[in-house]
């Protein structure tokens, strides 16, 4: 493989640690995949708490009917920025953090293929997050009218009408998009070129496969989003009429463009998680992964299907009957490859020898709760029933089962699973279990009532509600606060584990399989200085 000379070069110099600058310069200039992975994860964790704080303010407002804490303008800003922060600044960076840490370890590579692009990809994130949230702070000083207030979907013409927060969001999305594309290119190049000798594509770990599909989806769809928000920008400031009927445009065009990105985005967030879950299940069932090939093909199938079902996000906007039927039936079809994954997950555990350490608990919690997201997604595909569910709290509950239980809990599964490998220390099992149970219970307490709120007819994104929605909203708010504060246990547990603790063995978990467990914990500076040979 072409990387052989560079490895010789590296080993001839011994370790590079001594060339490192200390302090902040180390982190600004690092090109090491593990440093960058750590920065991604840390950034994601910080933004997770920022996005969480925003939504707790929202839930506090919704605890009782009437306006208590904030005016509708500010409420509208919080809900939109919460979503943008959680999706673009917490979940996506967390997934990229995993990719950075794990892909080289798992495919037997010394580092990512394009280390400088890697560094740049990360350092684009803090400015982007700053742009997104800065209007809140500017508004405190009387500059502008606060952050983007259109919800994360930025639907025109509301977003054409919006204040400068929308412009900040547009530029933030541009920068985040560049970062994502750079990260994706790096991951694709790394997987295609730096695999250990003998590791054919069909021996590639599932986590890498999941990320590979995600990377292609990002490259396919982020430019569409960038185009859509650029059109929005020119509509706002340069007199174009892409989304203005009076000028020959169409507001629904924005929805098509947005969801052409937005639907694959769901799978962009979830594929890395679906990739890592089987590793965890195999490890703690002490049994090889069931249906490896079927899972790979399902990833590919979901990737392809994800770009042809977008219009199910706006059935109520009205479209011709054949289009309604097409988008309904194609959406339902996604349930098949997804069912393959569920089947393989359960079959991996079946007749194993399970033990229930924190990562396994999170993986199993993920399967059950994400199962609810999948099943409610199936009914949402039905155009007729969707007329009732759509724009209601039913949808809010549905996608939080997908993105909190499916996304965030998936990330936590991975963090608990690999943290001992990364830090060389074991985390506290007790705290981990507390974190798991509090999270699962309070998560359901928060979002289960929202299904019923939606069925009863409560629209989403309203700052105040009619009196028949009082009880469920109160319960949901209580749940949200427990959920939010339970995550502090997670942060504390991670922090403690980074600082010290029982030494982790190389293999960490009794049933662990895969190349990353052959390295020391924490792994050496250049990970695989000599590539392992896969038989």
């Amino acid at each position: 493989m072409s990387t052989a000379p560079s490895i010789e070069h590296d080993t001839s110099h011994g370790h590079h640690t001594e060339h490192y600058q200390g302090g902040i310069m180390r982190w600004l200039t690092t090109t090491n995949h593990k440093d960058i992975g750590t920065m991604y994860m840390t950034f994601a964790l910080i933004m997770f708490f920022i996005g969480g704080a925003m939504i707790l303010a929202v839930r506090a407002e919704l605890f009782q009917p009437g306006l208590q804490l904030m005016q509708p303008e500010f409420f509208n800003q919080l809900i939109g920025v919460h979503a943008l922060v959680m999706i673009f600044a917490a979940l996506m960076p967390a997934a990229t953090g995993f990719a950075n840490w794990q892909i080289p370890l798992m495919i037997g590579a010394p580092d990512m293929a394009l280390p400088r692009i890697n560094n740049w990809g990360f350092w684009l994130l803090p400015p982007a997050a700053t742009l997104l949230t800065l209007p809140f702070i500017l508004a405190l000083f009387g500059i502008g009218d606060g952050a983007v207030n259109t919800g994360w979907t930025l639907y025109a013409p509301l977003s054409v009408q919006g204040g400068m927060g929308v412009d900040f969001a547009i530029f933030s999305i541009h920068i985040l998009g560049v970062s994502s594309i750079l990260g994706s290119i790096n991951i694709i190049v790394t997987i295609f070129n730096l695999r250990a000798p003998g590791m054919t594509m069909m021996k590639l770990p599932l986590f890498a496969w999941g990320w590979l599909i995600t990377a292609f989806l990002l490259i396919a769809t982020i430019p569409v989003l960038a185009g859509a928000v650029t059109m929005l920008l020119t509509d706002r400031h340069f007199g174009t009429s892409f989304f203005n009927a009076a000028g020959g445009g169409d507001p629904i065009l924005f929805q098509h463009l947005f969801w052409f990105f937005g639907h694959p985005e769901v799978y962009i967030l979830l594929l890395p998680i679906w990739g890592l879950i089987p590793h965890v299940l195999g490890t703690f069932s002490r049994k090889p992964i069931y249906g490896y090939k079927a899972q790979v093909y399902s990833f590919v199938a979901i990737g392809v299907l994800s770009v042809v079902v977008w219009a199910h996000h706006f059935f109520t906007a009205g479209m011709p009957v054949p289009a309604l039927l097409y988008f309904m039936y194609s959406t339902m079809f996604i349930s098949l490859p997804l069912a393959v994954l569920f089947f393989c997950w359960v079959a991996t555990m079946w007749r194993g020898a399970m033990s229930f350490e924190t990562p396994m608990l999170f993986a199993q919690g993920f399967i059950v709760l994400f199962g609810l997201a999948g099943l409610t997604g199936l009914v949402l595909a039905d155009v007729a029933a969707d007329a009732q569910y759509h724009h209601s709290y039913f949808v809010v509950a549905h996608f939080h089962y997908a993105l909190f239980a499916g996304g965030i809990m998936g990330v936590m599964t991975g963090v608990y699973y690999w943290l001992p490998k990364w830090t060389g220390h074991m985390f506290s099992e007790t705290l981990g279990k507390w974190h798991f149970w509090l999270t699962v219970i309070s998560f359901n307490l928060t979002f289960m009532p929202q299904f019923f709120l939606g069925l009863a007819g409560m629209p989403r994104r309203i700052p105040d509600y009619a009196l028949q929605f009082v009880e469920f909203n109160a319960i949901s708010t209580v749940g949200a606060f427990i959920l939010g504060f339970s995550q502090l246990i997670f942060a504390y547990n991670v922090w403690k584990c980074v600082k010290g603790g029982t030494r982790a063995t190389d293999k960490v978990w009794e049933g662990a399989e895969g190349l990353e467990w052959d390295l020391s914990s924490p792994p050496p500076h250049h990970s695989w200085e000599v590539q392992p040979v896969i038989k």
Partner: protein, 393 residues
């Protein structure tokens, strides 16, 4: 670590206490676990389909996770279960076992759910067959306009919940946030074809008991239909985020027997004719001011605030505003561009300031313009007559 543990226990206790406090609340409430009672054929269909689907997915959930939980109990290391080594189906029987679930799922997707869904969609989209009448709904920030093209009736419908209830300064009424000044009136047993559009941003017209939810899109027409089976008052609200007062844009429909409906049409016609006649006579300033205050409080105060102080930085103040205190009309009696009259009649592109030319009558426009020029400390002393507005159209 121990402290944290104790903290967790304590917060756990605190919240379980809170929950216990909430439960009696739950028991007495008339909360709902499902769709509200359907009153149209579509809503009945939708509820049936939904109930049907919920059973299907509940069965799927129980079966799949029943298997998983069985495995978690039986196949655990602590009971000494030895792990198997298989990585996929081997042999015909196992392949069969592996494929059967997917055959079942295909059946569920495209037969059990797919076929009823198909019929429901066709039915829902059939707005034209045997339609008895048309209702045109126009969404605007933040109210609905209803138009009956057959009888030439057109009026605005805005939320009537007092702002003090929202601000928790007075007790909330029974239909808090779901009450309007002028509800839509529709006859029962008639197929009503509903056309929707919007003048500014996208809104969504939704009445849960009708099973109907459709976007109102600026510059385009969308359609849906209802055939209400029982007389009554049905409430819903805007379902698409449409700006500041998205949460305060209710829909209220009075469904009445046809005879009552016809009587209402006649009455409404007379009312509107009387209002239109107002533009013929010359008004004195006090009457215009009084009428203007009414219009202002309904249409303008949401953004510009009751005292005209505005809501910085988006909604400008009218008190002391250069535009409001500028000249009324040009020397030839025409509209001056970007003047007070221009703004009120034609709105301002790209902002929430909408054109009121088509939503308010001559009298209402004249009244509100006169009111704004002579209130909140503005002392222009001038006035504009409904007849002048009429000539400016």
């Amino acid at each position: 670590m121990k402290i944290l543990h104790r903290f967790c226990l304590r917060t756990g206790k605190f919240f379980s206490g809170l929950l216990a406090a909430l439960f009696p609340l739950l028991a007495r409430a008339d909360y709902s676990w499902n769709f509200p009672t359907p009153v149209t054929p579509i809503a009945r269909d939708t509820l049936e389909i939904h109930n049907h689907f919920m059973i299907v997915i509940t069965v799927l959930f129980v079966v799949v996770f029943g298997i998983m939980i069985y495995s978690m109990i039986k196949h655990r290391k602590s009971v000494g279960h030895q792990p198997a080594k298989f990585t996929g189906p081997t042999g015909t029987v196992q392949w069969l076992w592996a494929l059967v679930p997917f055959a079942i799922l295909l059946f569920i997707d495209y037969v059990l759910m797919g076929i009823p869904a198909y019929h429901a969609v066709i039915d829902m989209e059939d707005t034209r067959t045997k339609a008895d009448m048309v209702l045109k709904v126009t969404g605007m920030q933040w109210k609905w306009q209803y138009e009956y093209p057959d009888s030439g009736i057109k009026y605005l419908s805005t939320m009537s919940t007092p702002r003090d209830q929202i601000a928790n300064k007075e007790a909330k009424g029974e239909h808090y946030l779901l009450e309007v000044d002028n509800p839509v009136v529709l006859p029962v047993g008639k197929k009503v074809r509903i056309l929707l559009t919007s003048t500014d941003v996208i809104h969504t017209w939704w009445v849960p008991q009708f099973g109907v939810k459709r976007d109102a899109i600026p510059g385009f027409l969308r359609e849906t239909w209802v055939k209400i089976e029982q007389p009554g008052t049905y409430r819903g609200q805007c379902a698409e985020l449409c700006g500041k007062d998205h949460g305060f844009m209710p829909v209220v429909v009075h469904a009445v027997p046809e005879s009552e409906y016809l009587a209402w049409v006649d009455e409404k016609k007379t009312q509107l004719a009387a209002a239109a006649a107002g533009s013929g006579k010359t008004w004195n300033k006090d009457d215009l001011m009084a009428a203007g205050k009414d219009v202002y409080e309904k249409q303008c105060a949401v953004c510009h605030q009751p005292e005209g102080q505005g809501l910085a930085p988006v909604f400008p103040a009218l008190a002391g505003s250069k535009i409001v205190t500028g000249p009324l009309l040009s020397a030839e009696g025409k509209i001056i561009k970007d003047s007070h009259v221009d703004r009120v009649l034609n709105g301002k592109e790209g902002t929430a300031m909408q054109a009121f030319r088509d939503t308010l009558t001559d009298t209402e426009l004249a009244a509100v313009i006169t009111y704004e020029r002579n209130s909140f400390g503005n002392k222009k002393g001038d006035m504009i007559q409904p007849a002048q507005i009429k000539s400016l159209r």
